[in-house]
Symmetry: none
Subunit: 205 residues, 4 copies
DNA sequence: AATGAATGAGCATTCATTCAT
DNA sequence: CATGAATGAATGCTCATTCAT
């Protein structure tokens, strides 16, 4: 997961300020992309000079690291609870989707960053935990879908990997347009998404 | 759409080489992101020196411009044909989805770039055509869905904008994992996607 | 006149260092020409790295801008004082010439740059103030000469525009060979120049 | 003077075309400055591609070299004739000034380039002939002025070096505003200049 | 905690020049 | 004679990072 900070200064800094700065950074990273974001821009937004950020963080990369790993930690707390609950395949999918939209609600910026950057970040050793998470993720979803097909809860005439990608993308891409505090609550959005994914948009004959 | 290059050299230069270089550039842009891609990297990939690219193109940005606008031109050729065919709402959606997967097949890199970069590019005047295209796109899809709801072909208990985003994202995100020449043809993938979107993944009671 | 820098850093940065760097830059610009001067050369001369200059200035061009506009500001302070003094035409010319040589003494580099670069710089919107200054300048000198002709203080058998160019060039070209601290003071040079311009170099019959 | 071309191709090329190209180059050099002039700009103006110029010339520098040396050759032909004529100091000055304005009329671009660039070019070995010419020039003018002072034709209360610079600058700077085919012929301009320089612009008491 | 000033590596771009055709 | 395509060195500039204060 995140490489533990080595500098003493990092340990001394107030955790509140730290969170604030990370939230600011996440917002800018999400809006402009990680590479296109300058450390100066983050500092501007935080009302300080670029160099001052280095009192709080080792590097720009370590900010990104902390943003992503914090998000993934929380995500997996939620997912693990769902997976441990012993629900049926359909109920598990419903719970995972709902949980996902809640995460999007709470960590919109982090999710957006994850979507945009995780693929190329995963190449760096520091971010291998993204790959690990990805695999755990695939196992959870794909496994549930397969269990559903076996239980005759989900259709067996579809390529299950395709279905997996379909559902996965369907959920996470929402982070790119979702705005917290909008007219739909995460739960409401989850319900509609689930309805579409499970029953389709066509009127039943 | 694309601002036509003014320099004669750009127009005169062999169109074959030009295409080749743009394909190379698109591949790298798609893999690493536009900002993270150095002009040197593109040149390396093309077997020339960085400066030599400027014999063919004005700037890194104009390569991006040409990649995106070429793609959108082709996309709209296909879309316009579908929309002009006078099909019913369901058949129109089917045709649009199929056409989209064909475009992903032919312009995978361009589509991936479009997904990742269009939002922040659209802010620049040079890329306003992205916004225009976006709006035309929304009108085509949203209009068809609304027609379908009116015709009782599509469910009326769903938020139609949500449905629009759902279908739109579902299709285009595929560019991020699709590899041409894989085991599924674009038409086969389109069929499965349509089946999921229209009828859902749940077994019918 | 000069477009005020927008970045706070530029305003905050110690004015002393700023002046120092501008003087260095002016010296190099004057010696090698603006275009032929690399930002690295200026930095070398200032004992820093090229990139470090950008902490203090937006661009090479903005250094030039500040050098020229500072010079013109001071020049016009002097000129305006002379023009407001209500002197006769001959005395006005004498005062303007003297003031000019004082400016050359104080801003030799800036004057030399102005001479060499103003013509093509004036084409750029940023440097339109050069044209404005030029016009004010012409009005001041040409007006004084015409007044002198009307008052029968200056000869009326000469093309007054030619006379204007003659006097103007005569004065300012001196910046190309003048070295502050040489054997003649600015006032002494002014006196000799005036004597030549007013009475000619030929012995009177 | 000019370093003789070493390439055979240069010898083969038609002298007419060569002259044409040099005139074009001179015009652009004069307008934009040597350094700011790209070889492409010259080629554009001449209706060819940048690379094609290298069939005619070794380098951009050798074009400049040929422009300047051709001009100086012609100038010295005229000057040497004047100096050999055995005229009195005043008549010599008159003849030199007239000859100079004729050169400005014929080689305006070359003169303008000379004015702007000679100082820093003279540092390069290839352009040492500029320094040589400068010294010959100074000897001719300064010598004539000194002779005139001795003969009591020119005033003896002026610093003669200052006078020299005054007269020299006065004449050559005219190249910066002179346009051939204007309302004054070179001879007319020479007459007015001489009148000012010799008798001053003030009305005699 | 934060600033001011600087570093140094890297980047997009320009441009004189070369050369096979 | 001229073109098309490329080279390679240099240029203005950006930016993450450092560090004394």
């Amino acid at each position: 997961m995140p490489t533990d900070s080595k500098k003493k200064t990092q340990v001394t800094a107030s955790p509140g300020r730290r969170r604030e700065l990370l939230d600011t950074a996440a917002e800018v990273f999400a809006a402009q992309g990680y590479n296109a974001t300058t450390v100066r821009k983050i500092a501007d937004e935080a009302g300080m000079l670029a160099g001052s950020l280095y009192y709080h963080f080792d590097s720009k990369e370590s900010m990104l690291d902390e943003i992503l790993s914090t998000f993934l930690d929380e995500l997996w707390q939620g997912y693990d609870a769902v997976l441990a609950a012993g629900l049926g395949p359909r109920e598990t999918i419903e719970a995972l989707v709902t949980e996902s939209f809640r995460e999007i609600d709470r960590h919109r910026a982090a999710v957006a960053i994850y979507q945009k950057e995780s693929r190329h970040l995963a190449a760096q050793p520091r971010f291998h935990y993204l790959t690990d998470s990805q695999q755990k993720f695939e196992k959870a979803w794909l496994g549930t879908l397969e269990r559903g097909v076996a239980d005759q809860v989900f259709r067996d005439d579809l390529d299950v990997r395709l279905t997996y990608r379909f559902v996965r993308d369907t959920v996470w891409v929402a982070a790119s347009w979702y705005r917290p505090g909008g007219q739909h609550s995460p739960e409401e959005i989850a319900r509609q998404y689930l309805s579409m994914v499970l029953d389709g948009i066509a009127v039943r004959g």
